[in-house]
């Protein structure tokens, strides 16, 4: 057990941080369309070229470093499928051409990245990797992600030997890490806001109601974060389910509170808060689409 970053990890995070500070972040997302952004091919290409998306390449590589990078990309509101690439792709044992989306078999309707994906991972038995033959329509969505409308998907693309349960596990971990990144950004913005904003001749962050509210959020996000990193390290299904369960619960708390404490400021699209918070709604719906994480968490520990 060692909760401190080693020197390799420090170096990776520093380097990816530099890249993200130039090519990602709220201003970049606003440039891409804000809450209705385009897919950030440029960012994806830069991350790929710098090797950040291939930190884990095979099923057996430890994916902790990949998770740390994903957390950073999510905290910088990257508008690309970094989660699937960093944490899920290694399980597929195949080369991914470009942007990728992921859907549980049979799932229809809005799916993140579907309109931009060169390939779609379909979690079923068997797991499939399909190239959409018709172009997938974009969905008008305002949750801060590029979204496409999945209808019928072509047959074939079976990935023999890939365990759907393992794909699900890594998808859960990826979602948990992404939620943590977005929640931490929203919390940081809120801590800053309530420290600066004054009403009744004092910072609103000095009201105990606000302090307790944010303190609870912080504890929830910390719990989700360490669980998600543990899940990335171990690759265990139980840890993945626990981390996503905790992240989903934390997101409910964080979503409501950070908006609440921003007052009306959080309601304008000219301010960046909604870019971090609305994303959580999409992540949560994809988390539930994989099957209730809380039910999975219980099932991993007991036969009920």
């Amino acid at each position: 057990m060692d909760f401190a970053l080693n020197s390799d990890q420090q170096a990776v995070l520093e380097a990816v941080g530099t890249l993200l500070s130039r090519h990602a972040g709220p201003a970049r997302l606003q440039q891409l369309g804000g809450d209705e952004p385009d897919y950030d091919h440029d960012l994806e290409k830069r991350l790929l070229e710098a090797g950040f998306l291939d930190l884990a390449t095979t099923r057996s590589t430890c994916r902790l470093d990949a998770a740390l990078v994903l957390e950073a990309v999510s905290g910088a509101l990257g508008s690309c499928a970094a989660g699937w690439r960093l944490l899920v792709a290694p399980t597929l044992d195949t080369d991914l051409p470009g942007p990728v989306a992921l859907v549980p078999d049979g799932r229809r309707g809005p799916v993140r990245f579907a309109a931009d994906a060169d390939a779609i991972v379909v979690i079923g038995s068997p797991v499939r990797l399909v190239r959409p033959d018709r172009s997938i329509a974009r969905v008008r969505s305002r949750l801060g992600w590029p979204v496409g409308e999945v209808r019928e998907l072509p047959a074939g693309g079976d990935l023999d030997g890939v365990d759907p349960a393992e794909v699900r596990t890594w998808a859960r971990t990826a979602l948990a890490v992404e939620m943590v990144g977005a929640m931490q950004l929203a919390l940081d913005m809120t801590v800053r806001h309530v420290s600066d904003r004054r009403q009744f001749d004092r910072a609103i962050g000095s009201f105990q109601a606000v302090q307790h509210g944010l303190a609870e959020c912080s504890v929830a996000v910390e719990g989700a974060r360490w669980l998600a990193l543990e899940a990335a390290f171990t690759g265990s299904a139980a840890a993945a389910a626990a981390s996503l369960t905790h992240a989903v619960d934390a997101s409910r708390l964080v979503f409501g509170r950070v908006h609440q404490y921003h007052g009306a400021m959080g309601f304008t699209r000219e301010y960046d808060l909604h870019l971090a918070t609305m994303r959580l709604l999409a992540l949560r719906s994809e988390a539930e689409a994989l099957g209730s994480p809380a039910a999975a968490c219980a099932a991993e520990h007991w036969t009920i």
């Binding site: 969505s141 949750l143 009403q199 304008t268 719906s285």
Partner: protein, 380 residues
Amino acid sequence: MEFDWAEEDVSYRSELQAFLQDELPGRWEGATAVLGSAENAEYSRRFAGLLADEGWLTPHWPAEWGGTGATPWMLAVLGEELWSRGEPRGPQYMNVNWIGPSIMAHGTAEQCERYLPPIAAGDVIWCQGFSEPEAGTDLASLRTRAVPDGDHYVVNGSKIWTSYGDIADHCYLLVRTDPGAERHHGISVLLMDMDSPGLEVRPIPGMVGEHSFTELFLSDVRVPAANRLGPENEGWAVVREALSFERVGAPRWARAAYVLDETLQWARELGRVIEESTVEAVGRAKAACEAARMLCYRVIDERARDLPPSPHANVARVAMVQAERLTADACAALQGNEIMRYGSSSDLQTRKSLAAGVAAGTYEVQLNLVARRHLGLPKS
């Protein structure tokens, strides 16, 4: 104690429902349009006119101004039926609930003559110019300055988050007339025309649907002194009185219950499998709407008895916010990834539930009031 409706309320409700059935057939699309959107406001000009023809726009007003002597319970029935259809009165619910009554209570004969008939006819839109960049929860710290100049005030400053500022005809504006006075004094109410020279209205892109938020910039705007409502420097008392009963004037729980209904209907029509945990979320949201309903009714009962405003109004407000939030959760559970579709009921309800805790007095402020006035806890 008993929880039956009086006969007159029952027959009023069914008359009203029949009218609304005709006027807003089936699923009126506006119900999902966002309260506060320009679309909703424009529709209100037509709809409120029709209501006025029926005598239902301002039924609680005195006969002199077009009222029909409706009881607070009838007014509650009206609000409930309209909010559960998405509030087709749009911004005009403010006119009839508190702007008109405030003008009646404090206005001069000329002011009543000028402002009340258009409100009663359902053909005027008002906005509320309270919040400023530095004055939100702490409204009494507002700084927009009005300086007397002959028979006018010259007004300078800015207002923010003004809903409907881009489409309103008039603004119920709070200004500071005596910067030297203790903060709750020195404030006055001005009834400002929105086409006044020197007034610039800038739209603010919002994230609650198409809700039209604006910022008002006032540079040397001349407002006739004759447009001041109530005594100079005592506007705080005027506005407090105006809003004292307003806390339950917007029965948000009724709209939330409607959204719940519609979303469940949507899931059924698509043949969606509704899991047990989702059924429970829906039940929990429904129960919260019902609790908010009873807590609002308690406030209406007090009004019907002519009791002074009580902290029960704050209790009801908190319960309504909770109902909105649980309804958002239930809709999200029902709709799954549909929440990613802009304009889906789960997407919209989530946004609206955020607004519920902030607009018209924040959740924390309401909780503070419940703690102090309802529980009698000491001030910090």
